[in-house]
């Protein structure tokens, strides 16, 4: 595409979004696919994904044969940018669009591709992820859910936790243990595209500290799934799972596009500080509040700049892996601080919760409580610091 074409496309997208962006609903929307807690929220977002897909703005670079657009990736990038700029809702089928879809396109059979891909894009089939297990931390190698082959089926037993959209999902990308032998704990894992409809699979919603639902614990009790649900060979589950980490947005054969969450950025907090009042004046005009805001801006911009610097290899310094390995720690802690601060901008109204009376419907209070999913999930802040201390600084194990 030449520059003119790009500009024209961008303005088309902008116009379309302007026209079709859904009105803010009467209920508070979730901010990520992990927070979808009511049918109302789910249906709203699924409809939005359908609308986007039908307009041709999702999976644009995926093959036409499987429901994609067969277009250059740059077009999807432009759509994503415009969606972010206009802050439209996210598309909820995150696991399908960003994990399962790319994986199936990459290593699935022709039948898999025909069967799954289009319905991922259209949100017809919602996907969920079955990686974490209760009591086994964030290390996949500790997975204990068993898959035992029996004829042309696998029999699954055990339970997975933090299954987002578990109640709505038709399929799950599932890591299960097919063997306890092998050179290490990763060797006995296999990867499945498991139908959630199989008898014996029961996603049970977990009530979060926010008071909402949004995760499930998924119980498997002698659940039988067809053997051809396995992706890759038996014992290759770990390496298949690792592949999913490679499908960055924008890479060829990568993620389908669309927003996957309502991104919270420091400018939102600055804007809020101008809008919220403490003791009758804009919070930003209070010197101490202002100073707290400066501190947060410094942390947020500093985080962003770290990524930018890490792309200059000469500036890597003594610990070149420090920036990349600390990304999750930094962004999750920053989010916790920003949302906590956001609550503090509201004077007595900081004590409100999800309701029309609350500033922005109580979004900030809920965001603060939800922020712990980042500082706890996928390895807590405390574990992240151990990892950084040990793997980056080379300190001895705790």
């Amino acid at each position: 595409m030449n520059e003119n074409e790009i500009n024209e496309f961008r303005s088309d997208v902008r116009a379309w979004l302007n026209e079709n962006k859904p009105a803010t609903p009467s209920f508070l929307l979730p901010e990520t696919f992990m927070e979808v807690g009511t049918d109302q929220q789910f249906e709203f977002l699924r409809r939005w994904q359908q609308t986007v897909y039908e307009a041709g703005y999702l999976g644009m670079s995926w093959p036409e044969a499987y429901g994609g657009g067969g277009q250059p990736q740059v077009m999807q990038d432009i759509v994503n940018q415009e969606m972010a700029a206009q802050r439209v809702p996210f598309v909820p089928n995150t696991i399908g669009l960003n994990w399962a879809g790319p994986l199936i396109l990459d290593m699935g059979s022709e039948a898999d591709k025909q069967r799954y891909v289009k319905n991922i894009l259209s949100a017809e089939d919602i996907w969920c992820q079955g990686f974490s297990e209760p009591d086994h931390g964030s290390d996949l190698g500790n997975a204990q859910v068993r898959a035992v082959k029996d004829g042309d089926e696998y029999v699954i037993n055990g339970s997975k936790i933090w299954t987002s959209l578990g109640s709505y999902a038709k399929y799950m990308i599932l890591i299960a243990r097919t063997s306890n032998e092998g050179p290490n704990k990763y060797a006995g894992l296999s990867f499945f595209l498991a139908p959630m409809t199989a008898p014996g699979i029961e996603p049970t919603p977990i009530k979060k500290l926010t008071g909402e639902f949004g995760f499930c614990q998924t119980y498997f009790t002698d659940a039988r799934i067809p053997a051809d649900c396995m992706l890759g060979n038996e014992g290759e589950g770990w390496s298949v799972a690792m592949k999913t980490l490679m499908y960055e947005r924008g890479a060829v054969g990568g993620q389908a596009g669309g927003l996957s969450m309502m991104d919270l950025n420091i400018n939102d907090i600055i804007e809020l500080a101008r809008r919220a009042t403490r003791n009758g004046q804009p919070a930003i005009d209070d010197p101490l509040t202002r100073d707290e805001l400066v501190k947060l801006v410094l942390e947020a911009k500093g985080n962003a700049l770290m990524g930018s610097r890490a792309r200059v290899p000469a500036l890597g310094g003594t610990y070149p892996t420090a920036v990349a390995m600390s990304g999750k720690l930094r962004s999750s802690e920053l989010k916790r601080k920003m949302t906590r601060f956001a609550v503090s901008l509201q004077g007595a109204n900081g004590a409100r919760y999800i309701s029309d009376d609350a500033l922005d419907g109580g979004k900030w209070q809920r965001s603060y409580l939800n922020s712990f999913s980042g500082t706890i999930g996928g390895g807590t802040t405390q574990i992240q610091k151990n990892i950084l201390g040990e793997r980056v600084l080379g300190l001895p194990k705790s």
Partner: protein, 368 residues
């Protein structure tokens, strides 16, 4: 200086025992789930214990003790997350004691001592902690009749209150209006959603509600009432800190990770020690504020002591609640984990009557 009265000692023992028995955490959850505006049986038990009359002068059927003497009751309630109309009613009684006419006191204080519920309506939709932002006002018609118009929020237990004391402007000056529940129009009181689910908070919307002269209190003390609220909320927070610390220590001593009790990790242990220090400091500030409240006459000294206590409690309780969630890991992210109950309580308390930042600003002016 901290002095601890015999009355306080007595109330401390009774209140601890009562709250532990009446409000184990399962009961707190049951009450939230039930969503009732009042547990009448529990309330009657508290009335029978005489707690409603503790601060009411003997002449009106109470014990005539100082407000500071009730601090142990609120601390004990806080540690068990027991929220009853005692807070609102005690504060409303203070308004009457401090500002009411003899007739008003005569009419209401004996009833309150006997268990009628009262509350105060101060805060408005702007969420300001300064009384100079109040817009609710009395309008005087030509005929001499007055009407009250305005909206209040965070009115505790208004749904079951027999009387509400409302702050309002009259000719540009603040005053207190006493409104009998029976005189409040249908629909004026609406339950509102607050982050602490143990609280029953209401909005109060008044539009041209007629007010007689005898509904207006002669006294116009406001700051003392705000300080009283801070003192009692600080007492609850001090108890809450004790409560959340117990939840954390209990978990650190039972939960294992990599085959070790997580309490053995310094990343958990040391911040928990910091929480302990915060709790110890909060409790010290609390009883210092109570001592000063009872023994001092200089209002600025009382204000400083109360604000220091509220500031210390707000900061440490919020942080303890936050760490409480974090240290429970995945379980901490669930509604089932008790840490969230305390974090929500901490946030409600933090934002009522001035958060720590607000208190530090006030203290900057008071101390230097």
């Amino acid at each position: 200086m901290i002095r601890f009265s015999e009355e306080q000692a007595m109330l401390l023992d009774t209140a601890r025992e009562f709250c532990q028995k009446q409000s184990p955490i399962a009961e707190v959850r049951r009450v939230i789930e039930a969503g009732q505006p009042l547990d009448a049986t529990l309330w009657q038990t508290m009335v029978d214990l005489g707690w409603l009359g503790v601060t009411i002068p003997e002449a009106f059927g109470g014990l005539g003790l100082d407000l500071a003497d009730t601090v142990p009751i609120f601390e004990a309630m806080g540690s068990q997350l027991l929220a009853t109309p005692l807070l609102a009613t005690t504060l409303a009684a203070q308004v009457l004691i401090t500002n009411g006419s003899e007739a008003q006191k005569n009419q209401w204080l004996p009833k309150i001592a006997a268990g009628q519920i009262a509350t105060i309506a101060l805060t408005e939709a702007n969420g300001s902690w300064e009384t100079d932002q109040i817009t609710t006002h009395l309008t005087q018609a030509g005929s001499g009749e007055m009407t009250l118009t305005g909206s209040k929020t965070f009115v505790l237990d208004a749904g079951v209150a027999d009387v509400i004391l409302v702050s309002a402007l009259r000719d540009g000056a603040l005053c207190w209006c006493l409104i009998d529940a029976s005189e409040i129009p249908e629909g004026a009181i609406q339950r509102e959603v607050v982050i602490d689910e143990t609280r029953r908070s209401y909005s109060l919307t008044l539009s041209d509600v007629p007010i007689r002269a005898d509904q207006i209190l002669p006294g116009t003390a406001f700051q003392k009432i705000e300080l009283a609220a801070m003192l009692l909320i600080t007492a609850e927070m001090s108890g809450g800190l004790e409560g959340v610390l117990a939840v954390i220590v209990g978990y650190l001593n039972t939960r294992k990770q990599f085959d070790k009790l997580i309490g053995s990790y310094q990343a958990m242990k040391h911040p928990t020690v910091d929480i302990l220090m915060g709790a110890e400091m909060t409790r010290s500030y609390l009883y210092h504020a109570a001592t000063v409240w009872r023994d001092e006459t200089d209002e600025a000294v009382i204000e400083a002591a109360v604000r220091m206590a509220k500031c210390c409690a707000s900061e440490h309780f919020s942080e303890a609640g936050d760490r409480g969630i974090q240290f429970h890991g995945g379980f901490g992210f669930t509604y089932e984990c008790d840490a969230q109950l305390f974090l929500r309580r901490a946030l409600w308390s933090q934002y009522q009557f001035g958060d720590d930042r607000h208190q530090r600003q006030k203290l900057g002016a008071l101390l230097f």
